[in-house]
């Protein structure tokens, strides 16, 4: 990689350009353009139905946009399936946490680490994973033990060391959110999309999540944060993009956006409806 492309990668990580998404007669996203940079928390605000989750679905590859492009450091993501987008460095969490029932907390993290072990994509060809695992080769056993240790280290750094042995079925809602976030961070993403990570959490858990978000930012991750708790969002975001009816109506620092009459109108209008 040349110095120029490295610079481009660090300057602009995620590039969303002219993205529209139409469902039948509804335009859920209308020509949305913005960028997210490494090491920033980009808040995505907007009243209900503004298109925030659709935007995340488009970026993460769950849905293909009707028009426009999404790229990461110049590499196009548009039309890539979710796992390919993830292996290129964009991962996400969900409004309702997706848990791997049947696994423990440690094992859930280790799943993320296994993908990481093979360059961000799992499974590799059978000769590299399935057959060594089935024959129980010492190399594979050691590698799995290392994944377990690294999972424990990650859990400890997220303040979840005590949870490692618990079955994911036994977690409370707030713990599910924290595990999902820790799992997403385990793949060392370039871009992390968090879809309402604070909803349903008690104040302590909110603080825990925000600590993890800030730590990810420090580590150079571009964090996109959709959140209904506007106060918390404005407090943690470096910049904010505001959507309303699928359109970007404002973009700027939290204080600029909070004072923007168009934004205030959109929110008040929403409450009056």
């Amino acid at each position: 990689m040349t110095a120029a492309t490295t610079a481009a990668l660090t300057a602009t990580t995620l590039d969303v350009r002219g993205v529209s998404m139409r469902f039948g007669g509804v335009l859920a996203l209308d020509d949305v353009t913005f960028t997210a940079r490494t090491g920033e928390v980009l808040g995505v605000m907007g009243p209900n139905g503004a298109g925030k989750t659709t935007l995340f679905n488009v970026i993460s590859g769950v849905q293909r946009p009707t028009a426009g492009t999404v790229s990461l450091g110049g590499v196009p993501l548009t039309g890539c399936p979710v796992d390919r987008v993830a292996s290129l460095g964009v991962t996400r969490t969900f409004q309702t946490p997706v848990m791997f029932w049947g696994l423990t907390v440690r094992e859930s993290i280790a799943v993320a680490l296994a993908a990481r072990e093979f360059g961000g994509s799992y499974p590799p060809p059978p000769l590299r994973a399935l057959l060594p695992a089935g024959f129980g080769t010492p190399g594979r056993r050691r590698a799995d033990a290392v994944l377990n240790d690294r999972a424990d280290a990650l859990l400890a750094s997220a303040g979840l060391a005590h949870m490692g042995d618990r079955a994911t079925e036994s977690l409370a809602f707030g713990e599910e959110r924290l595990l999902e976030l820790a799992r997403a961070l385990a793949v060392e993403p370039v871009v992390l999309l968090l879809d309402e990570p604070l909803s349903g959490l008690n104040p302590d858990e909110v603080a825990d999540v925000l600590t993890l978000v800030r730590a990810a930012r420090t580590a150079g991750v571009a964090v996109l944060l959709v959140e209904h708790a506007v106060g918390e969002l404005l407090s943690v975001a470096d910049r904010v993009v505001v959507l309303d009816h699928g359109r970007k109506i404002a973009e700027g620092t939290p204080s600029d956006v909070a004072a923007d009459p168009i934004v205030i109108d959109a929110y008040i209008g929403d409450e009056l409806e």
């Binding site: 993460s60 769950v62 399936p81 979710v82 796992d83 390919r84 993830a86 292996s87 991962t91 996400r92 969490t93 969900f94 997706v98 848990m99 791997f100 029932w101 049947g102 696994l103 423990t104 094992e107 859930s108 280790a110 799943v111 993320a112 296994a114 993908a115 990481r116 072990e117 961000g120 994509s121 799992y122 499974p123 059978p126 994973a129 399935l130 695992a133 089935g134 024959f135 129980g136 080769t137 010492p138 594979r140 056993r141 590698a143 799995d144 994944l147 079955a167 994911t168 079925e169 999902e180 799992r183 997403a184 385990a186 793949v187």
Partner: protein, 319 residues
């Protein structure tokens, strides 16, 4: 790598194998035959459990892969005089290849549609068995050579031991697999496919590898079946056999490897009992009527023990 089995599955399987190897010297031939059949079916069901129980998918066409293994080994032995030992490897390879190719169609589908697709594939493959004169068409394949070890040609006892030796290897391999990062990732896609994909897991590729592996288990089992019976025809590998494999999986407990063996034993035993009892109780009932009772037993087990008979036995923790 040491030769000693490194997981509990392997150790228990060795004990089971030893028991079978001892028992065949005392059991009447009828029971030795049932043991062999249970071993062959267990092998198929262990593979199917990886795909259904762990990866959370469904296959209603597994009998077709058993048939492919059987026919491949039979063709190699009869036409090319290839030893069944190599024939079994060839059967596994052809079954794997067919599963690999079919997976590009089938594995794009989910749940009910995947079930329908695998059902259709099984039926289509059975039609090929029926229509292809080279492999005997509807009248099947006769005089399939048996397994040999030096000058010794396998007798029914040896087939019982062989099939359970394969069960031991199969359960050891599967046991290693489900406890590895590979097995965990299977459980992850079964519980939350999109969540796993968001971590970089290529769910389709993972299912494909597991589907192909299940076909390898079925193909080997089919090759042993062909030599053991010395005669095969298309009806040996029809839709009802596929359904029975699913019954074995579910009755034993989907996310349980020993459950596969227990399920195979129960279905085979139940089939024998019904074959004896149904004609006495209902003289007008025809052969397939026992399938009705198997279905009734399945429904009862699903209601009473949703995780199967082995569901409560701790195998790998929270299965």
């Amino acid at each position: 790598m040491s030769f000693a089995p490194q997981n509990a599955y392997g150790r228990v399987a060795l004990i089971v194998l030893a028991v079978v190897a001892a028992a065949v010297w005392f059991l009447p031939a009828y029971y030795t035959g049932l043991l062999t059949l249970i071993g062959i079916y267990s092998l198929v069901t262990i593979g199917l459990n990886l795909f259904m129980g762990y990866a959370g998918q469904v296959s209603l066409g597994q009998a077709a892969f058993v048939g492919i293994g059987a026919y491949t080994s039979a063709v190699l032995a009869v036409y090319l005089h290839v030893t069944p030992w190599l024939g079994a490897a060839g059967g596994a390879a052809v079954a794997a290849l067919v599963a690999y190719v079919l997976s590009f169609v089938a594995l794009r589908l989910r749940e009910n549609l995947l079930a329908l697709a695998t059902l259709a594939l099984g039926i289509v493959i059975n039609v090929v068995f029926n229509e292809w004169e080279f492999i005997g068409g509807s009248s099947g394949f006769k005089d399939i050579p048996g397994f040999k070890l030096g000058a010794f040609t396998f007798d029914p006892r040896a087939y019982a031991i062989l099939s359970w030796a394969l069960v031991a290897v199969g359960i050891w391999f599967a046991g290693n697999l489900v406890r590895s990062s590979f097995g965990r990732t299977l459980i992850a896609i079964s519980a939350g496919e999109l969540g796993a994909q968001a971590l970089g897991v290529d769910a389709e590729k993972l299912k494909r590898q597991t589907f192909v592996l299940s076909a390898v288990y079925a193909g080997i089992a089919g090759a042993v079946y062909a030599s053991y019976q010395s005669y095969i025809d298309p009806s040996s590998f029809g839709f009802l056999l596929s359904v029975n494999f699913v019954l074995m999986s579910v009755i034993g407990g989907l996310r349980s490897l020993w459950g596969a063996v227990i399920g195979a034993a129960i279905v085979v035993a139940l089939g024998q009992i019904l074959q004896a009892v149904v004609p006495v109780v209902l003289p007008s009932a025809r052969g397939d009527f026992q399938q009705f009772f198997l279905g009734a037993v399945l429904i009862a087990i699903l209601i009473l023990l949703p995780r199967g008979l082995a569901g409560r036995v701790s195998e790998g923790g929270r299965a």
